[in-house]
């Protein structure tokens, strides 16, 4: 399920996590969980950008 998330969805989740960690009172345990999830999302998204390569396809009339 994690794999199928798009870049946009992951980025949105990351924003949600930052928002939560910054603006709500969390237990240390919940905060740690979110912190770890956020960091892994950041690594994941950075990796997507690092590895991305534009594929170009020309579609002419058949």
């Amino acid at each position: 399920m994690e794999k199928k998330q798009t870049f946009e969805e992951k980025l949105a989740r990351l924003n949600e996590i930052v928002e939560k960690v910054e603006n709500t009172t969390l237990s240390l345990e919940d905060a740690m969980k979110l912190y770890e999830e956020g960091n892994s999302l950041i690594k994941d998204l950075q990796k997507s950008l690092d590895e991305a390569e534009t594929k170009i396809q020309v579609i002419k009339d058949k």
Partner: protein, 399 residues
């Protein structure tokens, strides 16, 4: 002749200038003619407009106004010029100061285009409410561009630089000439069969005639019906085609289209670093807050001297157990007293005690205690138990 009977040349020219320049009829008039003697200077352009009767009017077009011309005028062009007549006092010449020029013959085409635009507008083709939002993170972008055109190269370069996560599908088409509208329509229909998130239609600048394919009614209607969000970048800023009106977003250059269609990976990377920072800071703050809470707790009496809380309870337990012990002792003492008094009472009943005081107990031979003379007869054997032994005796008589 007296001095007040003649003009100086300057005075005459100035009078003429005030007559002509001040005449409203000679302000903002349209003149049709053919351009000849085109000359350019730093300040502007000088040329003549000539008509079929070879009548000539000298014209001036200042550089500022030249910038806004819809085309590049050259000798031989039939034009309509808008301007005002003005006199140059120093040379005693009048000229036509041109504000703008339009190619003659385009008027009809422009009128037709204007009518088409009004019709489509009335039908709602250009309504803002029909505009689709441009997705922020496209996975695939389609390009309708001239084959190997500068627009294509520019778009591919900028899209892949900004957002390499998205694929590009190129639908090459003619972008000018009489077959261009048909070709563009075919390219659009091809694009509609693919899974693209955004469609970009782009072409570099050109004359009105060059861009006319993008004013095609069928193409405009097809694009209106198209479900893919579309960005148009046709011609320069000042050229607006019907495609521009019907597209979901209009930009003036292919680079602008790439920017409108994609996020910039540098910005996203900065956002990711920012998020990392925010998480670290928030975590640090939370940890130090928890540490403070812990410190605050540790100075409270409970943690300073945990046994103090128990001292009272301990005392209670001790007291209770003492009471318990006491009552047990009491109970035991009471019981032993009872036993003692019972045993002394029992002792008092012991017949041996009576015997020890000088009495004796008599039994028959079978050990039955003799309490009445009726129990015995003469000659029976009796046993008497005394304090220190037993006497056996024979009954010789009874009374």
């Amino acid at each position: 002749m007296e001095q007040n009977k003649y003009f100086s040349v300057t005075a005459l020219n100035t009078l003429i200038k005030s007559k002509i320049d001040g005449d409203e009829e000679l302000h903002n008039v349209y003149v049709k003619g053919e351009i000849s003697n085109w000359k350019s200077y730093n300040s502007g352009f000088f040329f003549d407009l000539v008509d079929e009767k070879k009548s000539v009017i000298p014209c001036i077009l200042w550089s500022d106004n030249y910038l806004y011309l819809p085309f590049e005028p050259k000798n031989g062009d039939e034009v309509i010029a808008l301007g005002s007549v003005s006199v140059y006092v120093g040379r005693g010449r009048y000229n036509f100061t041109v504000k703008t020029l339009e190619k003659f013959g385009q008027g009809a085409a422009l009128l037709a285009l204007e009518a088409l635009k009004k019709k489509l507008q009335a039908e709602g083709l250009f309504d803002i409410s029909h505009k689709k939002p441009i997705p922020e993170f496209p996975k695939s972008i389609g390009l309708i561009v001239g084959d190997k055109s500068a627009a294509e190269a520019d778009l591919i370069k900028n899209i892949s630089r900004r957002w390499p996560l998205c694929d590009i599908l190129v639908f090459p088409s003619l972008v000018q000439g009489k077959d261009a509208p048909k070709e563009l329509l075919k390219a659009l229909r091809r694009a509609e069969t693919t899974e693209i998130d955004i469609l970009i239609i782009a072409r570099g600048g050109g004359s009105n005639e060059d861009l006319s394919a993008f004013n095609d009614e069928a193409l405009t209607r097809e694009l209106y019906a198209c479900t893919i969000p579309c960005i148009s970048a046709v011609g320069h800023e000042i050229d607006t085609t019907l495609i521009d009106y019907v597209s979901d977003l209009r930009v003036s250059t292919p680079t602008g289209a790439a920017e409108a269609a994609t996020p910039d990976q540098q910005e996203i990377r900065a956002i990711l670093l920012g998020a990392e920072d925010s998480l670290n800071t928030a975590m640090k703050n939370l940890l130090s807050k928890k540490r403070d809470q812990l410190n605050a707790l540790s100075v409270r009496p409970f943690f300073k001297n945990p046994s103090s809380n128990y001292a009272k309870a301990k005392e209670e337990v001790q007291q209770l157990s003492k009471r318990l012990e006491m009552s047990l002792d009491h109970l035991l003492e009471m019981s032993s007293n009872q036993v003692r008094s019972l045993s002394s009472r029992l002792e008092a009943l012991n017949p041996r005690n009576v015997i020890s005081r000088g009495y004796s107990m008599t039994t028959d031979e079978r050990g039955n205690i003799v309490t009445s003379i009726k129990q015995i007869a003469e000659g029976d054997t009796l046993k008497s138990v005394l304090k220190d032994g037993t006497i056996t005796s024979k009954v010789t008589s009874k009374e």
